[in-house]
C-alpha cells in the first residue's frame, strides 16, 4: 500500500505587519484560515482535522496556545495537532498535515501556522541563558554572521552579492499585496549604505519581525480533482542534525544536503536547476540565498553566488527565487516556512498574481530552523505525482 496522493486546494495568508494591533491571536489565524477556506470553496464543516504550527511559545507568552484557540480554529470536536520544529515549523506543519492525507487517515485537512511577534521580543526570547548550553546572544543575526563570513571566504564571493539578493527580494515584495516591507527605493547601493549590524550582515540584509499567519487546505486526490487548479504534492522531506558537533559544516549543513537529495529523488527530479521553475527558499539574511542554492544542489559548492549575482534568481531569471519577497520582506517566524510552501503552491496553481512566474509546472518550498540544523521542504506540481 503506497502513499495516498495529496494536493493543496486552498491557500490563505494575512497582511503581514510589524504590529497587527487590530486583531487578537485568534483573529490573526482566522484571517488566513478564512481566505484558505474561501479559496478551497469549503467551510469548517468540510474539514476533518486541524494541524497548528508555530515557533516558541515564549514569542506570545502563551503555553500551547492551540488549546485556547481550538474553538476559533474550528477544531472543537475534531483532531488537533500542534507542531513545533523551530524556524522550519511552518514547513514541517504542512508536511504533517499532508501526511494525515497521505496515510489515508483523513480527506480534508486544514493547517495554519502563525506568529504574533509584537506580543513579545523574539530576539530576547531566543536569548534566555541556559546552563551548559551555548547562548544565542543577541538573536539569530549574531549567530549566523560568522557562517556568512565563512561562506564569503570559502567561495570568494564579491561582498556585494548579499545586497543584490536583498534589493531583489524587496523589489519582488512590491508585487505581493501581503508583504510586510514595502520599500520602493531599495537598491543595491542603498542596501550597501545601510547600517552594518553583525558584520558582514547589514540592516537591509535582515528579515523584519512580523505578525502574520498562513493557512492551507490539503486534500486527497478525489477532492483535489474537483477543485480548481490543485497544487499536487510530489515530495516532502524533513531532516535534523544537532546544534553543536565538531564535524558539523554550518555553512553547508549535511542535513540540508541530504534532505534535498532525498526530495529530488522522491519527486523524480535529476536536474533541479532545469526542472524546478520557481523556488521559495527560507532566506532570513540575504547571503543565505547563495548558500542554500548550493546546499539544495541548484549550484555546485562555491558557485551559488554566481547565479545570484548574474540575476539568475530574479523574476525573469533561470530560477526565480522568492518572487513573493520572501522571508526578507515578511517574517512571522512560525508562519514563514508555511508561507514558502504556500507561495510555491500559488506558483504552480498560477495564482500568484503580480508575482506569478509564467508556466510554472514544479516549484520548491523550503524552510530551515535552529542553528541551520532543521530542514523541511516540499515540491509541488501542476499535475498529479507519477510515483
Amino acid at each position: 500500500m503506497g502513499k495516498v496522493p495529496a494536493a493543496v486546494v486552498g491557500v490563505g495568508q494575512t497582511h503581514h505587519r510589524a504590529k497587527r494591533e487590530d486583531v487578537s491571536i485568534a483573529g490573526l489565524c482566522r484571517e488566513a484560515i478564512d481566505r484558505a477556506l474561501t479559496d478551497a470553496r469549503m467551510t469548517f464543516a468540510d474539514i476533518d482535522a486541524i494541524v497548528v504550527g508555530k515557533a516558541p511559545d515564549l514569542f506570545e507568552g502563551v503555553m500551547m496556545p492551540e488549546l485556547f484557540l481550538a474553538e476559533a480554529l474550528g477544531a472543537a470536536g475534531k483532531p488537533l495537532l500542534r507542531v513545533h520544529t523551530a524556524g522550519s515549523v511552518g514547513g514541517s506543519t504542512a508536511i504533517v498535515a499532508a501526511s494525515l492525507v497521505q496515510a489515508g487517515v483523513h480527506q480534508r485537512v486544514l493547517t495554519v501556522s502563525f506568529e504574533k511577534q509584537s506580543e513579545s521580543n523574539a530576539m530576547w526570547a531566543l536569548s534566555v541563558p541556559m546552563p551548559f548550553i551555548m547562548p544565542v546572544h543577541a538573536g539569530a543575526g549574531g549567530y549566523f554572521a560568522p557562517h556568512v563570513r565563512s561562506y564569503i571566504r570559502r567561495s570568494g564571493a564579491p561582498t556585494h552579492v548579499g545586497a543584490i539578493v536583498a534589493a531583489k527580494d524587496r523589489q519582488n515584495a512590491l508585487r505581493n499585496p501581503f508583504a510586510h516591507l514595502r520599500n520602493p527605493d531599495t537598491t543595491v547601493d542603498s542596501v550597501l549604505a545601510s547600517q552594518m549590524l553583525w558584520d558582514p550582515i547589514r540592516y537591509d540584509e535582515t528579515c523584519p519581525s512580523s505578525d502574520g499567519a498562513c493557512a492551507l487546505v490539503i486534500t486527497d486526490a478525489d477532492t483535489a480533482r474537483a477543485a480548481e487548479s490543485p497544487a499536487w504534492i510530489h515530495g516532502t522531506v524533513m531532516r535534523s542534525e544537532p546544534t553543536t558537533a565538531a564535524e558539523r559544516d554550518q555553512v553547508n549543513p549535511q542535513a540540508g544536503r541530504e534532505a534535498a537529495a532525498a526530495l529530488w529523488k522522491q519527486a523524480g527530479i535529476t536536474n533541479p536547476l532545469e526542472e524546478i521553475d520557481a523556488a521559495e527558499i527560507y532566506v532570513p539574511f540575504s547571503w543565505f540565498e547563495p548558500m542554500w542554492l548550493e546546499n539544495l544542489g541548484f549550484m555546485p559548492e562555491g558557485e551559488g553566488w554566481r547565479l545570484a549575482e548574474s540575476g539568475g534568481t530574479a523574476m525573469d531569471g533561470v530560477l526565480p527565487v522568492n518572487c513573493s519577497g520572501g522571508v526578507l520582506s515578511s517574517n512571522p517566524i512560525g508562519a514563514s516556512g508555511m508561507l514558502r510552501f504556500a507561495e510555491a503552491a500559488l506558483q504552480v496553481r498560477g495564482q500568484a498574481g503580480e508575482h506569478q512566474v509564467d508556466g510554472v509546472r514544479r516549484a520548491l518550498g523550503h524552510a530551515y530552523g535552529g542553528g541551520s540544523q532543521f530542514f523541511a521542504m516540499w515540491v509541488v506540481g501542476d499535475q498529479p505525482p507519477s510515483n
Binding site: K3, M64, P79, R82, H84, T85, S99, L126, E241, P253
Partner: protein
C-alpha cells in the same frame, strides 16, 4: 494499509531530576534500553519524533538540545510536537502508514520540578480572559470535581476508591513516585488540599522521560515476540473555555474512544492526573466493569508532564507483550480538565 505495532518502551519517573531541563542525560540511557529490547540500532530508526514543552523548560527551543541525545551525524528524519509525546507517537504512526518509513522512535521529556507546575500551567489558558486571573491546575480540577459531586455523577468515596486502587498497584511499579494504598476510610479522613480534592487525589509533580519504538509489519515481528499491534488510534479536542463546557463530561474522550474502538479491551491505562478524572474517562470510554484500570498505578502514582500519556501507551503495550492481555488501551490527556484526549488501542495476535 500497513500494520504498525509498539515494540519497545523505556521510562524514568522521579520526584526531582537532578539534571538539565532538556533531560538529555535521561534520554540517552532510555534509547539504549530501546535498542536492547528491539535489537535495533540508531541506524535502524527511520523516523524520530518527540513531545515536550518550552514553558516547562523555561526557554525557547528546548527540544533542540534534546536532539543531541540521538547522536551527532548523520542527520535524522525528525519532528517534534509541543504536546504530550503520545501525540508524537500519533505523528510517527502516520509517517509509517504513508510507507515513507518502517520504524520510529518516539520520546518525551519534562522537568516539572524546575518551576511551580500548577502556576506554569495557568499560562495554558486564554491569555485575554483567563490567564490574568491565574487560576491554577489544581483549583480548576477542584472546580471540576465539585461539579461532578454536586451533579451526583460521583462522590468523594468513589474518588478515594480510585486512589486506593492506584496507590496499591503502584507498589509494584518501580517508577512510581507515590505509592502505598491504605483504605477508603483512612484516605477520606485525610485533610482537604483544594476542596473537594485531597492531596492524594492530585497527581504528584513528577520529572521524567520515556521512549517508545514503533515498527511496521515484519520489522515489528522481528523486534519482539508478540508485538502490540495498533488497531485504533484517534484523538480529539474540546473547547478550552470552562464556561463553555460541562466539566463533568469529556466529549473529546468519547469521540476518541469511539474512533479507536474500545469494545474488546481487557486493560486500560488512563491518563487521569486527578482521581475524579478517571471516573469521567471510564464513563466517556464506556469501559466495562471488568476492564482492569491502570495496573501501573497510573498518573496518581507519577505524572511526568509531556511523557505521562506516552507512558500509558507503553504500560498498556507491556500487557500485550507478556501475554497478560489480548487487547489493551493507552490514553493520554492534555489541556485543563480533560480538554484534549487520545486513545490508542493495541492487540496481540497469535
Amino acid at each position: 494499509m500497513r500494520e504498525v505495532a509498539v515494540v519497545g518502551f523505556a521510562q524514568r519517573q522521579m520526584a526531582e531530576f537532578d539534571g538539565s531541563p532538556t533531560c538529555v542525560e535521561l534520554l540517552v540511557p532510555l534509547f539504549a534500553e530501546c535498542y536492547e529490547q528491539t535489537g535495533f540500532t540508531r541506524k535502524d530508526i527511520d523516523f524520530w519524533c518527540s513531545g515536550s514543552s518550552d514553558y516547562l523548560a523555561g526557554r525557547s527551543f528546548s527540544f533542540v538540545s534534546a536532539v543531541d541525545a540521538i547522536g551527532a551525524l548523520p542527520p535524522v528524519n525528525e519532528s517534534h510536537v509541543e504536546m504530550d509525546a503520545a501525540w508524537a507517537l500519533y505523528e510517527a504512526w502516520l509517517k509509517i502508514r504513508t510507507g515513507e518509513v518502517d520504524t520510529a522512535l518516539v520520546y518525551g521529556f519534562g522537568k516539572s520540578s524546575a518551576g511551580v507546575l500548577r502556576r506554569t500551567l495557568s499560562l495554558q489558558l486564554d491569555p485575554y480572559t483567563l490567564t490574568p486571573l491565574w487560576p491554577d491546575t489544581v483549583s480548576l480540577a477542584g472546580l471540576q470535581a465539585r461539579a461532578g459531586i454536586d451533579s451526583g455523577a460521583w462522590d468523594e468515596r468513589a474518588m478515594a476508591e480510585v486512589v486506593n486502587r492506584s496507590l496499591t498497584d503502584a507498589e509494584k511499579n518501580e517508577y512510581a513516585v507515590r505509592r502505598g494504598g491504605s483504605s477508603v476510610e483512612e484516605l477520606l479522613a485525610r485533610p482537604m488540599y483544594a476542596d473537594p480534592l485531597r492531596k492524594h487525589d492530585c497527581a504528584p509533580v513528577t520529572d521524567g522521560a520515556a521512549a517508545i519504538v514503533l515498527a511496521a509489519d515484519d520489522r515489528a515481528r522481528g523486534a519482539v515476540d508478540r508485538p502490540a499491534w495498533i488497531s485504533g488510534l484517534a484523538h480529539h479536542v474540546d473547547p478550552l473555555h470552562l464556561g463553555g463546557r460541562d466539566l463533568t463530561r469529556s466529549p473529546s474522550a468519547a469521540r476518541a474512544g469511539n474512533a479507536a474502538g474500545v469494545a474488546d479491551v481487557e486493560v486500560a491505562e488512563l491518563h487521569a492526573p486527578f482521581s475524579h478524572q478517571e471516573l469521567v474517562l471510564r464513563r466517556e470510554l464506556a469501559l466495562a466493569d471488568d476492564v482492569r484500570i491502570n495496573p501501573s498505578g497510573g498518573a496518581l502514582a507519577a505524572n511526568p508532564m509531556f511523557t505521562a500519556g506516552l507512558n500509558r501507551i507503553g504500560e498498556a503495550a507491556r500487557r500485550i507483550w507478556d501475554g497478560s492481555a489480548g487487547s489493551a488501551l493507552g490514553h493520554a490527556t492534555s489541556g485543563p480538565a480533560l480538554q484534549q484526549n487520545l486513545v490508542c488501542v493495541m492487540e496481540g495476535r497469535s
